[in-house]
Symmetry: C2
Subunit: 140 residues, 2 copies
DNA sequence: ATTGCAGATGCAATACTATTGCATGAAGAG
DNA sequence: CTCTTCATGCAATAGTATTGCATCTGCAAT
């Protein structure tokens, strides 16, 4: 996903294609892993760009509402890899160290979508999150 | 679930059965809905009991690690209804208003557990959380 | 029942995270 | 280019969580 595709995402969203929004999308794309607003700021600072933390909070909230990114239970943000897909996205998260693995399971995603609909839930980006202890954090 | 059962939970956990821990369990049980640490404090204060917020933070973190309660993505805590059951527990959460509905779906819980095991995850209380927009918050 | 101690609590200080109001600045339509 | 609207930066504030340390208490041993 190139920087110009990020601009396309913004155009389609109805949001103005500002430098700050493109930088936030670039950062999330480059980091490849869920990141907090301050993680994003640090990433950008290291690369010589600056976006004010308050702006990052505002931008990410908008992106979340548009389904451009997912906010995980840890508060970290993950770029939605397939925004055109209406189906659910799956994450496995360690509640100890916070590490996150994205998974793809059609069957589970179908079931989760059904459950959401049963309860009259709707979202442009339904999110399934399974929380447990990762191998490193499992005391056994 | 009575107060004496709460004491049993504590005995089995290896934690001392202090007044504060019993009060936190009582509060979560009485509230019937996921609550933040400060929600718990306010509930207790209204009933004439006081447990210091810092203590509630410490207690709930221990309970979470023991699988006695679940910490949802909103940060709110839900008493685990079936601590003896090793299977996963499911929650549907609105990312706008934060309302939570617990659901029970054997099939989805089985699938989620399988996915967790595939990734060598383990937990005394695996948690499935589906996030979307509830009927009240759906703009459509 | 008394004692002793590891573990638990309360408090204050601190750190971290998120939100709001307002003045200034930039995107993009015309 | 001009204008309007939306977006950003900054400062202040609010909300949430953690830590160190002194004191206290559950509970096991005697
Ligand atoms: Mn998505
Ligand atoms: Mn459980
Ligand atoms: Zn871990
Ligand atoms: Zn809602």
């Amino acid at each position: 996903m190139s920087s110009c595709q990020h601009t396309t995402i913004l155009e389609r969203s109805g949001l103005r294609a500002t430098m700050q929004r493109r930088l936030v999308l670039d950062a999330l794309h480059q980091m490849q892993t869920p990141a907090s607003p301050y993680d994003i700021e640090h990433h950008l600072t290291k690369r010589g760009s600056t976006v004010h933390p308050v702006t990052i909070y505002r931008i990410t909230k908008q992106f979340e509402n548009l389904g451009i990114l997912h906010r995980l239970g840890s508060g970290r943000l993950s770029l939605c890899k397939h925004p055109e897909t209406e189906g659910a996205h799956g994450y496995l998260r360690c509640r100890d160290c916070g590490s996150v693995t994205e998974f793809q399971n059609e069957h589970l995603q179908r079931l989760a979508t059904d459950i959401a609909e049963e309860h009259r839930y709707h979202s442009p980006a339904p999110l399934i999150e399974i929380t447990g202890l990762c191998p490193s954090c499992d005391p056994s």
